[in-house]
Symmetry: D3
Subunit: 253 residues, 6 copies
């Protein structure tokens, strides 16, 4: 068996913290991880980084002994297996809107008989001491991002796909979709309602529920609701806020 | 003439803020710069980055319209001209301890007759509309880092070298040197005394005086003394502090 | 509002020049841009470059104050938002052959309600001073490349898709397609006829019309027809022609 | 005409050896190639490497005068033309399971009238002395990977697609698929049977037959069957086996 | 205290195996390390790699829980502190021929009062939980490479420099030097004699003794003599030998 | 023996053309080389590129079958052997001003007994079929750049150093030095006079004479004088001139 700190903690009822990495820097990831976050997301959708950066960041997370997930830029098998083969435990696919989206995603994440992931896990097998192929389907953590009206409409279909381990709610995009672009307000009633629905459905379908939070208050709110993994910070935000605060503190600017 | 925002501001009596970039990311640099810092330092001595990162960060600083300086990893002509040719206005050489160190540094920074910088400023000439060669010696901003007992012993010799435009005090290394490794305390009396001496000497020799500050309090203290450029934050610190604060705010950890 | 030099000039009746960058070098891009071109295309379809090169080139275009467009290698949402999030104003998708192609492309380029672009414009928001989300749909410049018989057959359908701002004619591929691979002659009657048709349709559908020209003569010809953006040179061609001419000039070879 | 060492040798009845490169290193590729392998595969599906690595490895193969093929990570036109434009002779698309998969793949590989490959072969034209466009369809070597039950079910449809030059059998994935994930044994009877079927069909459809072999014994076995190209080693395997053997030889560990 | 697996093992009388990495690949390093080697050398003198590769490989060694050393390309302070700041435990400087070479090297490796290493260990402090500065001088492992007649002539001077922790014998260069370029034979009597002398001197001066061995036989020989760290394999050799053996095994070539 | 196209041609009385590469692009290098230049210089002093770019460009030159030289950024052994180990035939060191500069340079370029180059030519040995070590001293082509008054003063001393194969005159820097920064005019009488002196001395000392020419006229002039290698173009110049000419040709700008 491969050690699975994510499921172990979740199944023990722990809420897992998650920090979001967008600068593409392995060093930045390690610095953030060392603050004590339970998990780290390497964002290749809205964050920076090519293949080399992804591998460097996955390796940096291993060095920091922090479980990592990669958010790929698009639900495409090549992105999925390149991340998984590089040894990351989790993959997040954005914009999973339909049963077909979810099935394609899960199929690329899981070996037969669950899916049709192509075999060749060089680094993944290495860092799990060779036990990888037999346990991969149970170990890899595949997260479907729910962030549109269409996804809500298909929520049961999506969650019932075999191989989908977790759903990640993106409240920013969800708001844009639910309000047809009228606002970008993650506290909008439509969004809060959707958060409740998704969480209830996740429990029903026995998939883990994760929420991206723009700030600490939101993180506390969704934690209270029962979300199990909560993103509550991003490196780009830390730099922006820190740069502003330091300038003000030193120069009153 | 090439626009010279650094000397213009300093000669008008303004204290310039400076932010330190160590992650090697052009995006990180831009985010920090957009907070409003007057200048940005690309640290290649203790910060991360190879040649491509340096060029990317210099270009990012240009895009952010923020004057940039590169701290090279060692006082070596190849490092100096590669930074200057790439269009950066300033170079900081660490560990300038003797007149010879300063003379070697200035010689690599300035074209004849001041020095012996090799000619070939491809990007530098491009971004300054071709006026570069004639004005480079007046425009480039060459900063000798003063951070050891030996440098203090040779302070007049160092500052009297033609082509040295500025001195940058590194109080951390200075403390390690002055106390022979006994402490790392930038408020140690030996350090404060040295700060005063260096500033007085800088005025005497007509070179600009810059101080690296570990925090805002120190920045205010050295600004009050009369230091003209003050570093008061670093991207790695912003990530570390932000990651810690966000975790605590959201999860009470 | 975000400054929009492309639409401002076009709407004022100006023909915009465009230079094509294929070497993947930010320095090369800046050198070409400084010659005075109105816009620059970063070609990731037939040109060289991974994610880091793309960001470096977009940043270099910002430093050179020249509006840039990225030609992605395939009509895929991940490519589109990664380019747009990095702050580029325009995206060109090759091989837009059907209404579905155009709709998928526009959907990835525009936020709701026009499309379903995923939100997270870190660098884009930064360089537009935070005004990005509200104005992005009006500002981003999304160009569908028309280069096959199929596209001609579907030209009204393609141009009527909401969010398609411009069409770019690729006469080389168009000729290969129209002549079923028999020739590669951008002056072939079929191609010229198609150029006229596309231009007329563009006016009818109120989308801008852009043409790639292999040489100056062609550029003049399509400008005379009324094309509004005209590509008339590529870095790889400049190197090839320059290397040949310099060798001949110096050595009679 | 462009020299075509692959087809020349195959048509003369030679069995071609192939070595698999997964480390992403041009130097590693050259070292392996210099051992005398007939061809080299740059694996971007399960191997490491971004765009820069791909170009570096293709160039390294040219320097080593060894014909190269790129295995792309997914059957997507952008990956295909970027590899071909960079001058590689062959492309392998994984998971070609249906006639549509094969047709999409061939279409992206071949110019009209065979397919709809987009034109712009900068490096490819350069290294073939300008003769590229006219001869590309005959020269490029497009290999469909057969590795699932579905592919076997559609084998005639796949092989009859115009532009598919070769089929590559991946026995590891084939076994996972045929046994519904029960085992990973390339000697399983189902696999051997499939190997025979694919080879017979390849002869019937006049496409070349290639097999990936995990070891020398398997290589000899499939060579004996009549497979024409045989992969019999990978750089990652050489490092793993060499590192283990050297440690044992020197330290009895 | 920082855990020090190198000195712990050596002081307990263990002979440490070392594998040499020249391909510049973090994945290659991890594969080699997982075979069970006690330590790994990242060779930036004759091996491939820029700054990014160095950081990636140091991080990969951390992920593989294998102590790493970097051989820098030249005895220059910038190279030394960039490697140490990135968190590597050991640095090897080639061509340490004189007392001054050794003193310069040690000075750049050790903080005051032993040397004058510049302070700023961002990643190093991170991965050692903040204890770095106080313990760095005892923890970092600084290895002077002895490989010329001049070095032999100055062996006592070199070894008596405070801060030199270990000497590494390079028998290939040593042979070229001792025989004035006449042969490259690591079994030459002059070389063997020098090996004995260096080992005896190392014991006398209380520095660790390391030898690079071209093959297992040589490794056993120098281990028997008493060398404490022994390099007995390199990734480039594994690829070369593996590629040759696999070709021969499968195709009798 | 290793094939030596540079010396073969020079000794047969041929004047060799040389093109200068500053963009750091292997593709750019190949395009330039394919125009028919005899040799290519990879400029890492005033041109762009880190270690990876250097290796990519050396490999590209091999693929283009064009002998390459690397101009290092500073006369430092680490730069020299990294270039030579990567397989390049020639190295140019800038600013060789004294006998010591020349001796240090030659020592790093040549193995004992001529110099003290460190041994480990992985790629170099590979591409020369293993014959490298025995023939390297005769094959590598080590060029000292003469570009200051001091160098002229020491010209006999410099040229008499064993291992210096060629001198390269940099007339731009030479003019800045000879006129103490007063002008940048490669036709200044002081420069022309120096060109004659250097050429005469080169013949006397039996070293090859190379001149960098800013344009074709200058190239013809120095060829007529008897210079044997002549640089007559640079990729950055080709892009700049081509971008300007194309804009003017198409748009009258």
């Amino acid at each position: 068996m491969i050690e699975d700190p994510i499921r172990s903690a979740l199944d023990a009822g722990k809420t897992l913290s998650n920090v979001w990495i967008m600068l593409g820097s392995g060093l930045g990831l390690e610095i953030a991880a060392h603050a004590g976050w339970d998990t780290v997301t390497i964002d290749l959708q809205h964050g920076h980084g090519g293949f080399s950066h992804m591998v460097a960041m996955i390796t940096a997370a291993d060095a920091a002994k922090t479980p990592a997930l990669v958010r790929i830029s698009h639900n495409e098998p090549g992105y999925i297996h390149r991340a998984l083969d590089a040894g990351v435990q989790g993959v997040i696919a954005p914009m999973i809107n339909t049963k077909k989206d979810a099935a394609d995603f899960a199929s690329a994440c899981k070996y037969p008989p669950v899916g049709a992931r192509s075999w060749g896990p060089v680094r993944a097998a290495l860092i799990t001491d060779g036990d990888y192929t037999a346990h991969a389907n149970d170990w890899t953590f595949c997260c479907a991002q729910i962030e549109t009206q269409t996804a809500l409409d298909n929520i049961d279909d999506i969650m019932s796909v075999d191989g989908i381990d977790c759903v990640l709610v993106g409240p920013n995009d969800l708001c844009l979709s639910l309000t047809k672009g009228e606002k970008l307000d993650i506290n909008a009633p439509e969004v809060i309602e959707a958060l409740d629905l998704i969480l209830a459905k996740a429990k029903e379908h026995n998939v883990y529920a994760w929420c991206f939070a723009n700030d600490a208050e939101y993180a506390r709110m969704v934690a209270k609701k029962g979300y199990q993994i909560i993103t509550a910070g991003a490196d780009v935000g830390f730099v922006a806020a820190g740069a502003e605060a330091a300038l003000k503190a030193a120069f009153d600017l």
